[in-house]
Subunit: 141 residues, 2 copies
Amino acid sequence: MFSVSARTQYGIRALAYLARTPGWEAIGAQIAEAEGISPKYLEGILTRLATAGLVRSERGKNGGYRLAKPPGGIVMAEVVAALDGEVRPVDCVDSLGICDHDSSCRSRRFWIGLKFAIDEYLGNRTLADIIEEGADPVSTR
Amino acid sequence: MFSVSARTQYGIRALAYLARTPGWEAIGAQIAEAEGISPKYLEGILTRLATAGLVRSERGKNGGYRLAKPPGGIVMAEVVAALDGEVRPVDCVDSLGICDHDSSCRSRRFWIGLKFAIDEYLGNRTLADIIEEGADPVSTR
DNA sequence: CTTTTTCCTATCGGGATAATAGGATTATAT
DNA sequence: ATATAATCCTATTATCCCGATAGGAAAAAG
């Protein structure tokens, strides 16, 4: 339940690799090789991350990918949204009129509450929390 | 992302129906009819809920299903686990040795943290929170 | 012993995911 | 210019899971 796609896991690995790399830049093949990800599949992942503004890409010789911001500015909620879409336990979380029991639906509020809980967690962690050594992420709050 | 299966949504509807029913008992066909769920598919759902001890079933004439406990005792975390399994963002949350970067893996802790956040939310809501009218669930805590 | 109900097993179609392939585009360097 | 090295784009495939369906077996009541 609530399992994360390989795409998202690959994406986080790629971002973490970039964050560890001098200048935060590398070429796709290099990331794929180092992280053991299918190069062609990784391409699509990096494209999504670039579209979301988390990564910058440059084509042609001497091209490659680099983090668009420092790791502390890359919020995990954005990463997840870029790769697997917004957190949406049920379809009616953001659009009404899907079922006939409209806005008084109790379970809808239940799922919206879950969405908030997840979004709050993901919104308060950054790539820096993932790559840094030491205590648990944001344990100091 | 993090979408809930139709199975779980159906299951919650069925539980809510039982909770609203006098004596908390009804037959499968009746629930399916009232909630607009495929009867045969609902069978499997109710079987799962019965196996998990959330619902009691009785076969034969005058048989049917009933809640095994009062709605306030049916924790949503159990419901979700019975229908879609435990919350497990990544496979390595409860078993090590899946990847080679064992227990020092930072992203593993990240996902475990997310699991805890979800489990805490689901563990603090019951069926009673879903069926009752009024304010948001557990807003009084 | 008939009826009513849950239980068990098997199958099927659709959709998404992960992966692969081939080429088109862009930019650098020589 | 031209070769090279990289991202970008589009399409295809294989596989798995889910939602749904079907047919019957088992059990309990009357």
